[in-house]
Symmetry: C2
Subunit: 492 residues, 2 copies
């Protein structure tokens, strides 16, 4: 249970760290930069996985599994990708330990077990997968290949934050192969839509769909599409990316196919991924000073029932009512927990489940039994209300649906009211220093300007929104002509 109660307005970053700890989501491990995902945090991740996996399968994808390790020579093959990831690679160089002759009971790396070729622990799997696809693809009949993988990846990070940036993280990575450029672009955009729909309707986090500038593109992609969410501190968070890889990996790994017309052509590729970083987005978009706020869709426990009693006899009667309510709700696929622990008082339980973000709490006391009522508290608004137990399960289902909607609308209102237009540089800087949020401003389209703005303000171009309105203007920084506004923000 919480010892320190830090408010968002005091120190947002410390509030986040405490919440992750107090809600029992994750913790740092003995391995620098790697986290332990605790059972309650993992249960939320499992809910995300199930929903995403369903959506991937509905759009025709299958799961498969490729090796954790990538031989260095394969890793090098696509030069931009290799360059982009080489500085953060864990490298396996040996395959055996041996007893340390100097220190009994201790082990040392066996110098005789040095690998002839080092293995990179995958930071992403394009290289090993496209090396495999070469053998799978001969003809247009072998296309498309629509594969997803659930896996762990490693990117060596110097500065880490639980869920947001860790050396090892869990993710899914889709890797598809297509006969035409058009089909690959349609796939890239389709998966972006899948992610956006998931973020908004499942996690309740409104997102802006857009395209990254060349600077922010995935190493090895021709185009990177993204969804960007806004956290309560006014910083943006990239929640998912979908890459159109062109023929870059097909060329690097010599993957060609025979077209219907008998010509030999390189294959077109996409890749797309979301990770345990989504846990960070979920936490920071909705939670409050009391702890986690979970949209019902992603909550491992949607309804908790807490008995209020003094005597054993009261407990027995309340339990009977609680089990009845639980059973009714479970028949309608609601996830319910009856917190019957006799080691803790109701007040403690209330605080604990509040901290863990359970959307609906039902309290039942002896007077409720008499009146045939229960007390309902919703986590998002903290409103309490007395409900008759008549037709309770349908009322709860309706309430859960309201909560899901309300959490989304609240986040959307916050996001929408934090997209600021800026037309002058001093205005741009002032917004960043005060309310933050997204800034919609003209940009001259050059990398130089983008980098200069980043150096001056730490704000980056989060994306060029899809179907962006075209209008003539002047770059916020250089004053050079611009054809459209782009979205800037400080970001995680």
């Amino acid at each position: 249970m919480p010892t320190e109660k830090i408010k968002r307005s005091d120190d947002y970053s410390q509030w986040y760290n405490n919440l992750v700890k107090n809600a029992d989501l994750a913790e740092h491990s003995a391995v620098k930069g790697c986290m332990v995902i605790k059972p309650y945090g993992y249960a939320i991740w499992e809910k995300m996985q199930q929903e995403l996996d369903k959506k991937f399968k509905e759009t025709g994808h299958s799961n498969a599994y490729f090796p954790l390790f990538i031989p260095k020579s394969l890793f090098e093959a696509e030069e931009k990708n290799a360059e982009g990831f080489s500085k953060e690679c864990a490298v396996v160089t040996h395959y055996r330990l041996k007893s340390d002759p100097e220190n009994p009971g201790k082990l040392i790396v066996d110098p005789e077990a040095k690998l002839t070729e080092e293995l990179v622990v995958r930071p992403t799997s394009e290289a090993i997968i496209w090396n495999t696809y070469r053998d799978w693809i001969q003809s247009y009949r072998d296309l498309p290949i629509l594969i997803n993988q659930w896996a762990n990846v490693v990117r060596w990070e110097m500065k880490t934050r639980l869920f947001l940036r860790t050396t090892e993280f869990l993710w899914q990575e889709g890797h598809t192969a297509h006969a035409t450029k058009e089909e690959a672009i349609i796939e890239t955009r389709q998966m972006l839509d899948v992610y956006a729909d998931f973020a908004e309707h499942f996690l309740g986090v409104p997102v802006i769909k857009g395209i990254k500038t060349a600077n922010e593109r995935f190493a090895g992609a021709d185009d990177t599409y993204c969804i960007e969410g806004l956290m309560q501190d006014g910083k943006a968070l990239q929640m998912g990316t979908s890459h159109f890889l062109g023929q870059n990996f097909a060329k690097a790994f010599d993957v060609k196919f025979q077209t219907k017309e008998g010509k030999l052509e390189h294959v077109w590729a996409t890749s797309w991924g979301v990770s345990t970083r989504l846990m960070g987005a979920l936490i920071m978009a909705h939670s409050d000073d009391e702890g986690l706020v979970l949209p019902p869709n992603v909550a491992p426990v949607q309804v908790v029932i807490v008995p209020i009693y003094k005597t054993e006899e009261e407990f027995a009667r309340i339990s009977e009512a609680a089990f009845h309510i639980k059973k009714e709700l479970e028949l309608k696929d609601v996830r319910v927990k009856f917190d019957s622990r006799d080691t803790h008082k109701p007040g403690y339980k209330f605080a604990e489940w509040e901290q863990k973000g359970v959307p609906v709490r039902i309290a039942i006391g002896p007077r409720d039994l008499e009146n045939q009522t229960v007390e309902i508290a919703r986590r998002d608004t903290k409103e309490k209300q007395t409900y008759s137990i008549n037709d309770l399960s349908n009322k709860i289902i309706h309430l859960l649906s309201n909560i899901q909607e309300n959490i989304y609308l609240k986040a959307k209102q916050f996001r929408d009211s934090n997209i600021h237009k800026a037309d002058r540089w001093d205005e741009f800087k002032e917004i960043l220093e005060t309310s933050a949020g997204f800034i919609s401003a003209h940009w001259d389209g050059t990398s130089e300007t983008e980098i200069a703005i980043k150096e001056a303000t730490k704000a980056t171009i989060r994306c060029i929104p899809l179907n962006n309105h075209q209008e003539a203007g002047k770059c916020i920084f250089s004053g050079n002509p611009s054809t459209q506004r782009v979205l800037f923000a400080k970001a995680y």
Copy 2:
């Protein structure tokens, strides 16, 4: 599609390799000893995962996730465990690559990015988990901890076989902590029962539950329980293990708890796991010279519908009937595929689905439409029969249930008829050279004898069966007195 048709009786090992390839289950990767699990193989693994995960949750376990890497100093802490796995560890020594100044476009390990402490890629997670549990456990109120993890692990293997023995494999590992020895032993046995039940009723593979000898015990365990299956070539396969770890890890990692009485005691532990090796068991227990034979419970596709037609008009009418049948079956949770490909002939499709082990094939031709019938072929017995489409879905469900049962009974009959009693050493050797299978024989209980028998015959003690019959006898090898028979076999 298959090019080489090798029979089990010709070369069992080559038959297995071809089947894995032809049924599209897995293949070797560019990384020595690591496999690519292809979509169809992975779909079978997903079915196993879902069922096991459900059983773990029903028995009160939660999933969590611990780091891939184990710092060397933690890995060393439990000495027997460290000794057991040190010879097969992939070791990360560096965290960065850099451009090779001598070879433009190539990368080398950056010597300046050497880790001060090497990281072992987990061969199993006791060390990192028990190091974490130390912070989670103070009082008896914190116990039991019942956690499972789905993960990849790495054990460096010199000689590998797809699914059966690979350097990287997928598995689940349960790690539980208990206040008493009795409770830990009950947990160990409970999970063994979960595995046995899963193997028999889901995979259709009969198993013998038993306990390993000291020689064959998990490194760091006080007792290792196992389930052992028998493959069609008469070799045994260890399909799952459940370890009673005593207080070994609690002592190595200093994990103590305060008892109800206020004393400080070390915690009791278990761990248990099954892996993608189960795919090997599934294949080798049931499949035949035509390919894979899948029990319906684990089959990604339980029923395939193949249309037989000449004209477009026939195809349209058959499709209509097929969709109707498919829908009826899906309403009853049967997994159905309608193979409407116009690129392949029915004969090709028949062979392909046979090779992939789909339990039931429905063929529909123009004459079937007239007669209101379909042709049903079951994969396990290869019997064909004509069914009226009247009430077809219930008949198919009944058939699937029959097939599940029949596959199990056939494997059980084979297994039971291949448990041989041997009372003389020449008899023991002769059985191993002819029919193989399990040999039930007296053993004097010493490691020396166990090792001598292994060296002489390659047979090992697979287990001492649970609730083993006690009888006086003489050791098959040494002639020394023995109190019980144990099960020997050559094994994978």
